[in-house]
Amino acid sequence: MDYKKAGLVAGIEIHQQLDTAEKLFCHCPTALRETAEHAGEFSRFLRATVSEMGEIDRAAKEEMKRDRRFQYYTYDTTCLVEDDEEPPAPMNDEALSVCLTIGKMFSMTPVPQVHTMRKLVIDGSNTSGFQRTALVALNGTLPNGGEIETICLEEEAAQRVKDEVFSLDRLGIPLIEITTSPCMHTPEEVQKMAEYIGMVLRSTGKVKRGIGTIRQDVNISIAQGARVEVKGVQELDLIAEVVRREVQRQQNLLATRDELKGRGASVDTASAQDITTLFKDTKSTVLKKAKKIHAIILKGFAGLVGREIQPERRLGSEMSDYAKKCGVGGIFHTDELPAYGVTAEEVASLKTHMKAGEADCVIIVAGGSEKQAVCAIGQVVTRATIALSDKPVPEETRKMLETGSSAYMRPLPGAARMYPETDVLPVIIDDARWRAVTIPELLTARADRYAKEYQIDLPYAMQLAGSDKLPLFERAIKEGIKPKLAAFTILSTATELRRDGVDVRKISDDAYLATWHAVEKGQTVREAIPELFRSIAAGSTFEESLKNLAPRVSREELEAIVRKILADRSEFVAQKGKAALGPLMGVVMAEVRGSVDGKMVSEVLRTGIDKALEPK
């Protein structure tokens, strides 16, 4: 695929949670909670505010299509600010400092006076109905020539529990938003850029790690296509694939439009009608449950509604996404019927009833009410009309599906849906403050240093610098743990255990450190770490786990064990000579269940072998 020729232009936005002590506009901790721990609930409606133009933002309008009562979970770690029941506190200075650091790392210009804005978001994820956000720095450049347009400091939204239920623990966690210019032209470029920015962010040591703490949005357009934002790409590895599939989608939509035009296709809005009675005896569970079934003819669309435009996605899926905004479960179309319990006879009678020709596609929607069905047909008309138009790719915000394809979410938000957050005073970034910002060592530089200082292989050091456990490693070094012990445990032992099905997330940093200290103090041996970790991951404390370890084997006991093993394998020893040491080490270690230091085992074993090899 020649992306240059396709006219691919892409940019990304990276949203990264900051690891500050308190939230951005209140003094709550930035702790995520289990929803089962929620201490209270409340429910609210949100309504779009009217703009000076008498208009409501199109994204907001879309959200308002349904009358939704949002429900929120509160915690003992949330407060009246998250409840939207108290004015926000001043902007968290720690969070601002992290942004300035990052800005300086990208050679950006700080905003002299930072103003907090309200960005309209009425999908329920913000109790206030807006997200507080402030532009902090502008115009950055990257070593690879990439450009960072802006850094914004935002508050994280509430986590959706399900449907209209949100959990307030996440709301208000500081979030840095880094927006690149649309300066990339291949899928791989985009992915590299995201990787680099992520590395820079982690270099500060002040960002949260783990699933959900970083999210990439990718902006993609091709020639003749339109700007589409695919939101919520959490895995770095998928970024390039997302870009590829969006290019594919836009190209297919353009091709489909051309074919439709060629066929003289049209949307027969007059054909829209209530066909509920037609399906009164249907076996289809979806249609049976519906209060109102409406249908419409898309003239000349036959075959194209069901044709794939992206893996697992068709024009029909796009229409379905639009229709869902009215509260229906989706649509049926004759390109895919008979299916879903709808019989061939029913399809035939539907086509007859609708007077649909061979080239036509009939769309059915099943609504819980007349209003819902009418709304859904309206959405189908809207999407079908776009598909026929000069701009067959609508500007949209889409959400990434698991495999890298995407589904319609809402229209692109209007740029102008912002107004000042009057409850927060502006913050001055003067020269003195900017000068005082120090740049931390990049993780790549750090890896180089580790390799040199601690004699760790560079790829290993790179892995370490990129690891979630980097702060733990740094702490271990500070506490005098041998770097190799720490690095090995973090990168090998833990990884192997994880692959082995052990839930290593349950092992706290404190448990790691306690383990290392125990090894350093000789209370246990390096070889015992896997067993210790298994025990801790299974729910025991470090102390319990240490106590329950296989009993320490004394030198005398070890010598006896070695004697027995050598006796049992006297032939092998005789045959291999001193080279028997290697193979037999494993046998002895397994026997002592890791409770003896390998060095001692090797020493005793060597002595034993030497003795065995002595001429009798």
Binding site: V50, E52, R69, E85, M117, S128, T133, L138, R417, M418
Partner: protein, 393 residues
């Protein structure tokens, strides 16, 4: 970089960028390019249903509706019927509205003089046929104002005060639900002055409070307003708008319309505290009346009593209420109380200190006979002073 110049703030030029963000930059880095034409405000005209009851909305500065110019980020309070109905379409299903812009003040700047204007305006509207009045008001002093209007107008129709604790320019504002519930209350069988505001942090129902029995009990929560001393006089469910009135609530048409708009502004409210110097009371010499917010059953320290006696001797009416805010003043139980009575201080029953102050302004404005005025202060005029304290309150 291009942007729209918005304003000057703390020496910086605030500029709105194309992305919608404001930033503050030193003015000297800015260069004037052009002055864009002001955005044309689309005229809105919403049809009202004349078969619905007529309500009048009197605004004192609390905003029901706001409009945001996203181009500049500026927020404008809107106050005509069309604007309101665009912002809160449900209102159109409830009534027909006339809007009377009386004042645009922050409610902490409310004064007895504005109460008088407000009372006259409301009286005029009712006389003109309004079936109910909605007064939009800042929440800070709404309870004081509702009490003032309670005393100043005998009303056959509901007079409903409403405000919002979250500004109308935010999607989560309580303005719309409060306004819808207020309109429902204003078209209901209610026949007295009330405050209608959120009942809880949920958007599920509003409480109807008696104007003389309500107090703002939280700085910022939606459900800041609470009835003290009596249960709420009603509630309005949302979004169903079902109004339920308590058995003792005054019903529509019970009273004949009358305006008593005199007020004596030379009155004050003083909270006693331990160690309070009698000198502080000197500031009230020449006052027509003061309400003391005393401790417990209605006490001050013994050291204040000579100065209080001096005030009552100089014809200042002194009424004792309690900073406990719940329960009844009783100065017969302890020595200090009996000394206060002896010094001419009168018991304020179970009146809220704030309601007692407003009532005092009204009583002293309307009754020049000192003894009669004192008797009026102890009588129940508008539900502000109950003879019985119900269990559970």
């Amino acid at each position: 970089m291009k942007g729209i110049y918005i304003t000057e703030r703390d020496g910086m030029a605030v500029v709105k960028l194309g992305s919608g963000y404001n930033i503050g930059v030193p003015p000297k880095v800015c260069t004037f390019v052009e002055r864009p034409a002001p955005a044309a405000v689309k005229p809105v005209d919403v049809k009202q249903d004349s078969s619905l009851p007529n309500l009048s909305i009197v605004s004192t500065g609390g905003t029901i509706a706001s409009r945001i110019d996203y181009r500049t980020g500026s927020v404008t309070s809107q106050f005509n019927a069309s604007d309101i109905l665009v912002a809160i379409p449900e209102l159109a299903e409830i009534a027909n509205y006339r809007t009377i812009p009386l004042a645009t003040i922050l409610s902490e700047n409310m004064t007895p003089a504005i109460w008088q204007e407000l009372a006259r305006a409301i009286h005029e509207e009712i006389k003109g046929g309004a079936k109910g009045i909605i007064v939009t008001h800042g929440t800070d002093t709404m309870a004081y104002s509702a009490a003032a209007i309670s005393f100043m107008i005998d009303t056959p129709v509901p007079i409903v005060f409403v405000g919002s604790q979250r500004s109308a320019d935010r999607p989560s504002s309580d303005n719309a639900m409060n306004a819808v519930c207020a309109a429902a209350a204003a078209t209901s069988d209610l026949g007295e002055v009330a405050v209608v505001m959120h009942a809880s942090t949920n958007d599920d129902h509003c409480t109807i409070h008696r104007g003389t029995r309500v107090r703002k009990m939280h700085t910022s929560r939606r459900d800041a307003f609470r009835s003290l001393g009596i249960p709420p006089i009603g509630k309005v469910e949302y979004p169903s708008r079902t109004v339920t009135l308590a058995p003792d609530t005054v019903r529509r048409g019970t009273h004949k319309l009358a305006l008593h708009d005199k007020l004596e502004p030379h009155c004050a409210l003083v909270q006693f505290f331990p160690g309070m110097s009698p000198d502080i009371l000197r500031a009230f010499e020449g006052y027509k009346g003061i309400v003391i917010s005393g401790t417990g059953l209605g006490h001050t320290s013994t050291t204040l009593i000579p100065q209080l006696r001096h005030l009552t001797g100089a014809s200042t009416v002194v009424v004792m209420t309690s900073q406990c805010m719940n329960g009844r003043v009783c100065d017969r139980v302890y020595d200090t109380g009996r000394d206060l009575l002896d010094a001419g201080v009168i018991e304020g029953g179970d009146m809220l200190p704030e309601a007692a102050l407003v009532k005092m302004m009204w009583v002293l404005g309307n009754e020049k006979d000192g003894e009669k005025a004192k008797a009026l202060m102890q009588a129940d005029l508008k539900g502000e002073c109950n003879r019985r304290s119900a269990h559970g309150l």
